[in-house]
Symmetry: D2
Subunit: 347 residues, 4 copies
């Protein structure tokens, strides 16, 4: 029996995440892309804005429109918001009122606390009443909740790379909730398609640099989720670095074991939670994560090393910041929510 398709729309489809969303949804077996919006590209076809999609039959018929929540609610069953924080909420409110599934890729609905939102994003939350309703769209952790919600907050790129390796260990009590350090390296697409000097080719190529030290905005959702897992407030150290690749995040986590740990115990802990999860790849043997093995895919690679000299547990992960760290994960959320196979359109 053929699965019933959903009509989908993307609000803000001209950035890097939006572009990957277009690609995934054009190739999705159960989704029909019916609308894309973009203030700057309104009036142009998909083929004109993204020459790489020009061979897809729909690329010449789908035209960017000015974003309009009412119109979108009429056209689509599922709406993806690929907008800056603060702006996304403006569209989410009317879309939810119209009963539409809303999958937001911004930070607007990732936190449960409007106060923490204000601390980290420097303005009042635009729709605090929705924070209770929204589900943090990390499918490996919140599968059941995702199925039942209309509002999904797709996690940030750095948070995904940190939470997936850390949550099982914290939940199982294998590591301490204190002293956690996450050192992350991100490709430049993480900064978005913004015309800023800092992200010009010549400023990023042959350059490596930390930024946002010591209080990056993503800390808010990372710590909130780690606290849920540990059932105690967690504060971590997080240092992002910009490296000259287009896509990919590599995170190195420094953790302190609680009690005596072994590779077998760690493997069992991960296996229990991720054994049946299609996009988490636990590395065995001598392999360590490498972004080039996951770029262009929705997979995350995880490996670990116990250091007998220092007593620490080092966990490393690699993902594509635009796929598992953004648009791929959002599609995975849609798949779960709509009852499609979890991997539909993603492998």
């Amino acid at each position: 029996m053929k699965m019933k398709s959903k009509k989908v729309a993307i609000v803000g489809a001209s950035g890097y995440s939006g572009e990957v969303l277009v690609q995934l949804l054009l190739g999705h077996p159960h989704a029909e892309l019916v609308a894309v919006t973009s203030r700057q590209n309104a009036g142009q076809t998909l083929a004109q804005v993204f020459p790489k999609f020009a061979s897809h039959p729909k690329s010449k018929t789908i035209r960017f429109t000015e974003p309009n929540a009412e119109a979108l609610a009429k056209q689509a069953d599922v709406i993806f918001l690929a907008l800056p924080h603060g702006v996304a909420a403006e569209y989410a409110v009317p879309l939810l009122q119209a009963g539409r599934v809303t999958i937001d890729l911004s930070a607007d609905f990732r936190l449960k606390s409007a106060k923490v939102y204000k601390e980290f994003y420097a303005h009042d939350h635009p729709a605090p009443e929705l924070l209770k309703q929204s589900v943090y769209g990390l499918p490996e952790i919140y599968r059941d909740e995702i199925k039942k919600s209309l509002l999904i907050a797709s996690p940030g790129c750095y948070p995904t790379s940190i939470l997936l390796p850390a949550i099982p260990l914290l939940k199982a009590g294998l590591v301490k909730p204190t002293g956690i350090i996450a050192d992350s390296l991100s490709g430049v697409s993480g900064a978005g398609r913004k015309a800023e000097v800092d992200y010009l080719f010549c400023e990023c190529n042959e350059s490596v640099r930390p930024y946002g030290v010591p209080k990056h905005r993503h800390l808010s959702e990372i710590e909130e989720q780690l606290s849920f897992a540990a059932k105690t407030p967690v504060t971590i150290q997080f240092t992002p670095h910009l490296i000259p690749v287009n896509r990919g995040i590599l995170t190195t986590l420094y953790l302190e074991p609680k009690g005596k740990l072994s590779d077998d115990k760690i493997f069992a802990c991960y296996k229990k939670i991720y054994g049946d999860k299609p996009f988490v790849r636990l590395l065995d043997g001598k392999n360590l994560p490498d972004t080039k093995n996951v770029v262009g895919t929705n997979f995350i690679e995880i490996a670990w090393r116990l250091d007998s000299r220092t007593g620490r547990l080092i966990v490393m992960s690699a993902e594509d910041n635009l796929v598992k760290g953004a648009s791929g994960q959002a599609v995975q959320d849609m798949n779960i929510l709509c009852g499609f196979p979890e991997t539909a359109g993603l492998v």
Copy 2:
């Protein structure tokens, strides 16, 4: 006897060419950098704008100022203009009236014909009366003229990479002035430090693309200079491509021999003109030019191959677009004009 130093200033010192000029002049044994201007950075020190120069003693005392021709004429003996075309002329006029040596890195004084300027730059020439006075600052060809002029038009990056390999052959009548093709590959710094989406890291990395086909602005000065060399009007085919490196231009020239050519004849022709020129490196043996051998230097590498199958002569060159193709060459011009050793501050 110690050579007398010149006081030098840079107008428009915050772009890539300006930055390299700052670097070269801070390290120059006979130049004293006394002023740098930049609308956007006025008030800041060199160290603040360019952290890489922060260890130079002058970096904390030299502050960017608003550009002001009158003030500059009082401060400096030699003024470098690293400005967009059209704007450079505004400063050149008063500086020359004040008797100051003006070395312009823009296209404003490279052409002898104001008509051709208008054809290629789409606006009237701002100071056509100066075109007769200016000297095209290609030191290997115009050494004597440079010595005697107050206004030097430092050649463009692509033109340098094409003219130095082509002029000797045309002058000697070894190749036909017709049917010339120049296929060039440039690093992204050639586009300048402009906040435009097209030059973002993710748009240039893992990308190769032609642009400005078939009528790039630099054709105007290339063809004018080739015509002088050939003593007949020359029209060429020129295709620039953008490649993901910071710096470097690689040009491949396709030429038709006039009469029977041999490697010895070609070598003799180049040797005659470039034998005593410090920055032209003729490659022998099996070596072909490679931008990595010249980046960061004022050298240009030149090699050639006669193709017995097609009868053509292929000449290849490599240079750093910001050094030999811009700021290094401008300093070389200053050295010649001021009577300094030609290589001062450049090796």
Copy 3:
């Protein structure tokens, strides 16, 4: 009705083309990958050699074996040879005798002339009697022949980027068969996964260089195919350059129009041959080819410019050297030969 699957094998699956073949065939709806061979990796699973495939269910059951033509003929219906020239023929002979479809990615069966093979590859052709039987696997040109052959010679990466833009124009007599120049830029994967100093990261990054000037081996098949199209012997100028990207070839062709040409005429000429071809993308408007729009796909982008100043026609193309220039094209050949949809497993 479900299409009947074919069992396929890859000989020499550990290089870059082999890796892409594995990827395409693991995801192919009508092909079942049953064997991969590699001397150096014999005994290891696909997952061990290519961690990026580790999440595919077959990656842990398919093990590399020593290549053995007899065994392969028993296991598979279609065998891809991703081997060096000279070696491929050794396997093709017994596989064809056993009646197996053989798709060779090397240069061994691309030429009709064993003499030209010897001239360019410096050794006698290992199986000259098969040259008549083989079909040059350029699907847009040889679709009908591919359907009927057991031995397909998948074209080289540079040749594909030159032939697809040039053949229609030559066939239609729109351009002269003389004076053709092809200036090509290739990513480093074109050199294969060989442990040679020349292809180390630090030797290629921030470097651009020509090589193989003026007589690259690929000239042999390029000229043979252009001669067939023009119905007269064609000799061209071909200059390959190495640029720091992983994948992608950008070719700029310089052609001389025969008679008066217009954009409409050129478009009509291409449209006639490529209008129904799924992987050729003719660019309209202001777009020029960019490798980043085709990398990871089997598409080739083609655009052109008539230069009224020089009278020349400039045609530019972009492709992924490992997909349309190698493994994707080989799969496209298989699709046609086996009666699968031409785009199966490729979009």
Copy 4:
């Protein structure tokens, strides 16, 4: 009065460190390069092996020879060893017996403990009696000792990037000697000019990966030096990552303050030790280290942030692994040892 020049030689001059040494010594005002050795390049001139040096007058007269300690001792006053560990000691012994200054860039003389050497390098130390005599060539810390020694062990690239930021804080007792984490990112030249698949362009480009986790060899010298500074045994966590740049190391250090710390205290601590050191650049204001500001120079950039949320001190450094992390530092050692200005040939 002109400073007396020293005759210098380089053993193993064909790797990346060797190449940078050649460059620095060819341009050094008080050093005369008289000999370079290389097994694989013996007989060739500098110009043949390194086309980039071909314009230097000496490049055509200096020829690579087979390494021979006796001959070198006759030719040169100062000999740089750019050889693999284990091999360097073979040359050091006879050179020291002949009374020559020996500056070793390998790991052979960096440790005081032959036992630790064996633990980390997996073979007995080849000349343990020399370990007492050698001085760890970190000029900012061991200036006085360097002046008096004949045998200098130039520090490793990672150690330099970790020790310079950490030592002053440990010496002053501002941070605890426990719980230190160093997370480092290195360009590919750190792996040397070795023909290995892992370092091919396509394996490193668009890739980021940790390696050598958790016990990299450089830990031995890092911990020995930190222990000297802290006057107590120090064990640290060190995670190196490979990133796609040619040159540059970025290190992020995680430290725990001992008592109450302030920016002023930290600045005063660094200023006291590095205030008069020409190559340490303490960043103020909002600047964070960026490898592009130090590549090609002997500078190291250092910045720090106190995190009031976690109580930790984050210190970040950036250096060129081949200059301050290898050959530049070795030349700085020579300058100090020979009584030249410390910055001679380095700025």
